[in-house]
Symmetry: C2
Subunit: 129 residues, 2 copies
């Protein structure tokens, strides 16, 4: 009998990256408008607990109105927008942090001419983008 052993080689490295140097994934459909998403730190970096993404929401753009099991921890980097939480719209401006627990309907929209840029983190094991 042979014994099969799986070896995992973890290449976990430190990383410093400007988010604008990452090619974005563009989202435009019936439910999402003018959104660019980037994974800054995720499973490919060996991040085992949570994942950092950045979303740029263009003027007149918005994310989908949806809910999912996992939470969001969001930090507003630049621009101005609003986030709906339980039917109430809250202002988002640079420095606004938002906690969206799991299974909570939410949506963000830009309310200005410049892009709304938000850092949005999710736990590991869910879709990164």
């Amino acid at each position: 009998m042979f014994e099969f052993v799986e070896y995992k080689i973890w290449r976990i490295k430190m990383k410093a990256v400007k988010y604008t140097d990452i090619e974005p994934v563009k989202f435009d459909s019936d439910v999402v408008k003018g959104v660019k998403g980037r994974v800054l730190i995720g499973k490919d970096d060996g991040a085992e607990n949570f994942c950092m993404r950045v979303f740029e929401i263009a003027a007149n753009g918005h994310t989908p109105r949806h809910s999912h099991e996992w939470e969001h921890e969001i930090f507003t980097h630049s621009g101005n927008g609003e986030v709906v939480l339980k039917e109430k719209w809250h202002p988002m401006s640079p420095g606004t942090a938002i906690f969206i627990p799991g299974n909570t309907e939410h949506q963000m929209k830009n309310i200005n001419d410049e892009p709304l840029v938000v850092v949005c983190l999710v736990p590991s094991g869910v879709p990164e983008l």
Copy 2:
């Protein structure tokens, strides 16, 4: 025989907060200079997987040079600084993301006149500040 059952009532609520509206904890000692820390989203909010803090590092200020078992995921919100990772200093400016794996020595310093403001996340279960 009685059966004891522990009921946990989770009061997990959505939250929207401007980081400047939170009273900071100030750090100044032999190893850390001119640093204000704030927990934006943590265990008191019911965040079970990771914790969002913001650090403001004043002109000429720096965080301690240290390492610990847990990782950091950092996003530079404003200001200009540098982070040392394995003896190499990397620039930090608005939009720079940094992944510091666990057990990796690190330190951040301000290199400008305005505060260096960074969002810094840690996994749950470690000191929040």
